[in-house]
Structure formats: C-alpha cells, structure tokens
C-alpha cells in the first residue's frame, strides 16, 4: 500500500513539481479558450458562407470540413510541427497546437451549425424576406440565432472534446498540464505528477461539462 502512495501520491514529488504543473494549467486554459473561440467563430462563419450556396465556395468548405474531421488530430499536429519547417514555416509548438485544434473544431462546428441552419424552417426565411429583410440580414437576425440555440448541445460537447485534446501537445513539447507533468515524471521517476495532472484536468473540465448540461436544459426549454 505504501508503495502505491509512494508512486502516485508522493508528497515530496508533488510539492516539488506542483508549481510547474500549475503553470501548465495556465497554458491549457489559455489554449482551450483560444481554440474554442476561434473554432466556433470560424466554423459559424464557414456555415454562413456555405448558406449562400456559391457552388465553388461550398465545395471548398465541405472539403475542408471533411478532411479535418476525418484525420486524427495527432496526425495533423505532427505533420504541421515536423513538416512545415521544411517549407520554411517555423511555428512554435503552442501555435501549431492552437491552429490545428482550432481548425479541427472549426470543421466540426461548421457541420453542426450548418445542420442548424438547414433545420430552421423555410417559413422563417419567407417571413423575414417578406418584410424586406435581405438574405444576409435574415441569416443574421432570424435564422442564425435559432440555429445556434438548436445546436448548443452538440457544439458544447464537441468543444469540450477538442479542448481535452490539448493534451496531445505533449508530443511536440507544449508546456501544458500533461507536458509539464510528463517532464516532471521523467525527472522524478515517479508518477505523482501525472496524478496531479489528472486532478487538474478534472478541476478544469468538470465545471465545463456541468455548464454544458446547464446550457442544454436551458435552451431546450426555451425552444419548446
């Protein structure tokens, strides 16, 4: 039993590496916020652009969304981090992780918001257009607000799933929670930093999960 606590809950190790993991918490939170904001905004914009039904533009949006949804994010991260320098684009590991995950979330968000736009009844378009609102105004003031309410549950679920993938940054040396913890683990030859990392993830993401549940019940009631 004491070997278990020595391995997973070694107080000396925890005390020594807690500050660096706390720094990692800051990095993970910053990354998550940036990824969610960028991903949801870009995805929503792409879905709006797609609704104009310009054939070539829609084609490229669909190709983007399909590729970024199909590829494992880790493959994209490694490709970008180790591949781009060969063509002269050198990005920090933080930037690579941010860009890749933001684009992956954007691809999913585009599909989700697009589904919301197409699920908004045709009568809403007709009513708005019949009062003189233009296409873009109808989209912005009438259709999109309804579409976004409709897709809040899948969108928040996807956003949480993607932000958890910030842990993948470890493989390219992003100093996020897991990056800091694995470094500490190899220095201390002890798993306690990983335990602390797990606790940190729960502390960060559990409130988000609870928040998403609250959003879902709130907006499903509003829509009825």
């Amino acid at each position: 039993m004491s070997s278990f606590s020595d391995t997973f809950l070694n107080m000396d190790v925890l005390a020594r590496y807690a500050p660096s993991i706390l720094k990692g918490v800051g990095v993970t939170i910053l990354l998550s916020v940036l990824i969610v904001l960028t991903g949801v905004v870009v995805g929503t914009l792409l879905a709006c652009l797609r609704s104009f039904r310009v054939r070539l533009l829609s084609f490229f949006i669909v190709v983007f969304a399909d590729i970024f949804r199909a590829l494992p994010p880790l493959v994209l991260i490694l490709l970008a981090f180790f591949g781009l320098p060969n063509i002269g684009v050198v990005l920090t590991s933080f930037t690579v992780l941010y860009l890749v995950l933001a684009l992956v979330l954007a691809a999913f968000a585009e599909e989700i918001v697009w589904a919301g736009i197409t699920a908004t009844p045709k009568g809403q378009w007709e009513a708005a257009r019949s009062t003189g609102l233009g296409y873009t105004q109808t989209l912005g003031y009438v259709v999109l607000p309804q579409a976004l309410r409709m897709v809040i549950p899948p969108l928040t679920n996807r956003a949480i799933a993607i932000t958890k993938m910030t842990a993948l940054g470890m493989v390219i040396g992003v100093p996020d929670i897991l990056g800091q913890a694995t470094t500490a683990q190899s220095f201390s030859a002890n798993a306690s930093p990983l335990t602390l990392a797990a606790v940190a993830y729960v502390v960060i993401f559990l409130p988000l999960v609870v928040l998403s549940r609250w959003l879902e019940t709130r907006f499903s009631r509003g829509a009825a």
Partner: protein, 247 residues
C-alpha cells in the same frame, strides 16, 4: 404619383414547376380598401399566385404592379418593394427567439432603419390594433395560435404596406380561435388596405369579402360579389367545388 390604377394588379401571370403548369394566365386586380377572396381546390395555384405577388415565387412570365409600379422584371428593389406588401402565413412564422415586440420591430429597425424608440412606439401601436399590446413581451411559444397570427398581422401592418396578402391565415387554428383573427382582418380592411386572401373561411368570405375569385387549374374560372359566386355561380366547375365544400 396620383393614379386611378388598382393597388395590386396581376397581368398574364404564368408559372410552372418543372413540366407542371401551375398558373396559366392570371389577370386580377385589387383596389384600395378592397378585400378579395381567392377560392379553389388544393393544387389550383391560388397559393402560388399569392406568393408571386411579393416574389417569394418568381413568375415565369406576366407582370405585377403595386400602386402602378412594376414589381416584376429585373432592376426592382425587392426589399423595398416587399415593405409595400405585407404577408401573413398559414403557419404564422413568428420568430421564436424574439418577443412579440421584437417580431414587430425587427424589419422597422433593420430595413427601415428607424430608431429603437420610434420602432417600439409604432410596434406597440400595431399590437394594440390587434388587441395584443399586453402581450408585447411574450414569446411566440407563450401565445395561442390565434394570438400568434394576430402578432404576425401586426408585424406586417407595422411596415404600413398598401397591400396585404393572407395565405390561409386561419387554416392552422383551432376553430374557437378563428374568430379573433377574422375580426382583426376586418379591422385591416377598414384601414383601407388592398387585401388578397386565400382562405377556406366561406362564411367569412360571404360576410366580409368585396369580391370572390374562384381559381382552378391555374386560371380564374369566375369572379364576382360573394352573392354572385356563392348563390348564382355561372360555371359548372365553381358549382362542383362549392357543392363539395358545403357537404
């Protein structure tokens, strides 16, 4: 421009969906303050005709004039034109995320660019006219079907159109809620609007319509006063239709 032309004028309207002709040459006019009822079996083209009047459907050929000005063809300011033509839908189509007040003010603020205070004053006035000023802050889901339709009428009326189109305005309502909507439609007519109504409310048509138009197979089969069309229909198709629905 002073004109003695009708407020709404349709000339030689044709429309096909694919190979199916829906409208085959419709000529119709509605004068200021006139309520014209359009009757006809389903699939007769009456709704399509109505939806051509604000170009929710694009006619294949023919012309439409509102207050003497053409609204068909290219180079028409579609969004400007649509403010002159209010439309009320069978399924109300209120914006569910906005209050009754928000529904009525949206186009005033975003299309007519009225300041919020002015738009709200006008919207409250419009809601008052349909008897729902007290419901200004209610969301559509909190209103009955009849109330929703009256808000929809207020939404169209607030833009001060010269023509109002009603596409089966009471068909989705429970029978006990129909009366309020019809009462509001009488009010609209009293304000001197040109009204084109597609509806199955025969009793209301008899009492309130100035003219009844019977459409079948994409053409106007016959038209006249309610008395003429209901009591002394000239055409066999009209008689057959009226016979079917009075059963």
């Amino acid at each position: 421009m002073i004109t003695d032309r009708p407020t709404l004028e349709l000339r030689g309207l044709h429309k096909s969906f694919g190979a199916d002709p829906i409208l085959r040459g419709i000529d119709l006019s509605v004068a200021r303050g006139e309520m014209v009822f359009v009757l006809g079996p389903s699939g007769s083209g009456k709704s399509t005709m109505l939806r051509c009047c604000n170009r929710l459907e694009e006619p294949d050929s023919g012309e439409i004039f509102v207050e003497g000005k053409p609204i068909t063809g290219t180079g028409v300011d579609l969004n400007g034109m649509r403010q002159r033509i209010g439309m009320v839908f069978q399924s109300f189509n209120l914006y569910p995320h906005l209050t009754a007040l928000g529904n009525v003010t949206l186009a005033m603020r975003r299309v007519q660019k009225k300041p919020r205070a002015e738009a709200e004053t006008r919207a409250l006035d419009a809601l008052d006219r349909v008897g729902l000023k007290a419901k200004a802050d209610s969301y559509p889901a909190q209103l009955s079907g009849g109330q929703q339709q009256r808000v929809a009428i207020a939404r169209a009326m607030a833009l001060e159109p010269s023509v109002m189109l009603f596409d089966e305005p009471t068909s989705a309502l429970d029978p006990e809620l129909v009366g309020d909507v019809l009462a509001v439609m009488r009010e609209v007519r009293a304000e001197g609007m040109a009204m084109l109504v597609v509806s199955h409310e025969m009793k209301f048509a008899r009492e309130a319509a100035d003219r009844v138009v019977f459409v079948d197979g994409g053409v106007i089969v016959e038209q006249g006063t309610p008395e003429e069309v209901f009591e002394r229909p000239r055409e066999a198709r009209t008689r057959a239709f009226l016979g079917r629905i009075s059963e």
